[in-house]
Symmetry: C2
Subunit: 105 residues, 2 copies
DNA sequence: CGTGTTCTTTCCTCTTGGGAAAGTACGTGG
DNA sequence: CCACGTACTTTCCCAAGAGGAAAGAACACG
């Protein structure tokens, strides 16, 4: 498995995060937390690890009555996600196979 | 995630196993072990857990100079794999999105 | 019955995902 | 400027589980 399969991104929670980030630009922390769903702490830790890998970028924004944390994929993160998605695609393709193979005994 | 996403099958090694089994019928233990690749013990344990879930069926076959263990997906296993694959397909689809969303600040 | 082959099980280690709760940072209202 | 609330972040902790090594078991063959 040295195709684009990415064990780090493969973790369900992280897969969910990047899948949510992929089609949009800056996304709110709270939105991700509600959509996943997971605890604040778990999400925060995943985002930290994603940021440490350079897969996401984090920004703090002023908001009416407080701050909000915004997240988006970096180009690198997007590319890694695409590569992993392509690897998954190959796997998914086998599920569509009509079950050929040699017959049993 | 109460679509067909299956955390048990999602584990890379198990995903690899069922993906290899899906397009064929009875498959040899040795073939799987070499293809994955993993140790005998790890593969054996994965196959046991898959069998315990009713996802695969195991058969022992006489062979010139010994026995061979043959494995195949059960209809149930195939269906679960397909459901999981469909869930992955939805995720993979987001990777193809052209990054719309609102622009940054 | 001894031996080799092919798995299987046991033992152990180490990673890690995740929640709870404490901590931090900052904005707001008083 | 301080008290307070909100929005995360970090620490602490635990349990699950993946995986290798090595011992074990089952069976065919000579």
């Amino acid at each position: 498995m040295d195709d684009g399969f990415n064990e780090f991104l493969h973790v369900p929670a992280r897969l969910a995060i990047v899948a949510l980030l992929a089609p949009t630009s800056w996304t709110e922390f709270g939105f991700l937390r509600d959509a996943i769903p997971t605890s604040d702490s778990a999400l925060s830790k995943h985002l930290s690890s994603l940021a440490a890998k350079g897969y996401v970028e984090v920004r703090k924004d002023k908001h009416a009555g407080g701050r909000r944390t915004l997240i988006r994929l970096t180009p690198d993160g997007r590319q890694e996600f695409r590569r992993h998605a392509a690897a998954l695609e190959r796997i998914v393709a086998t599920a569509r196979a009509p079950q050929g193979g040699e017959p049993d005994g």
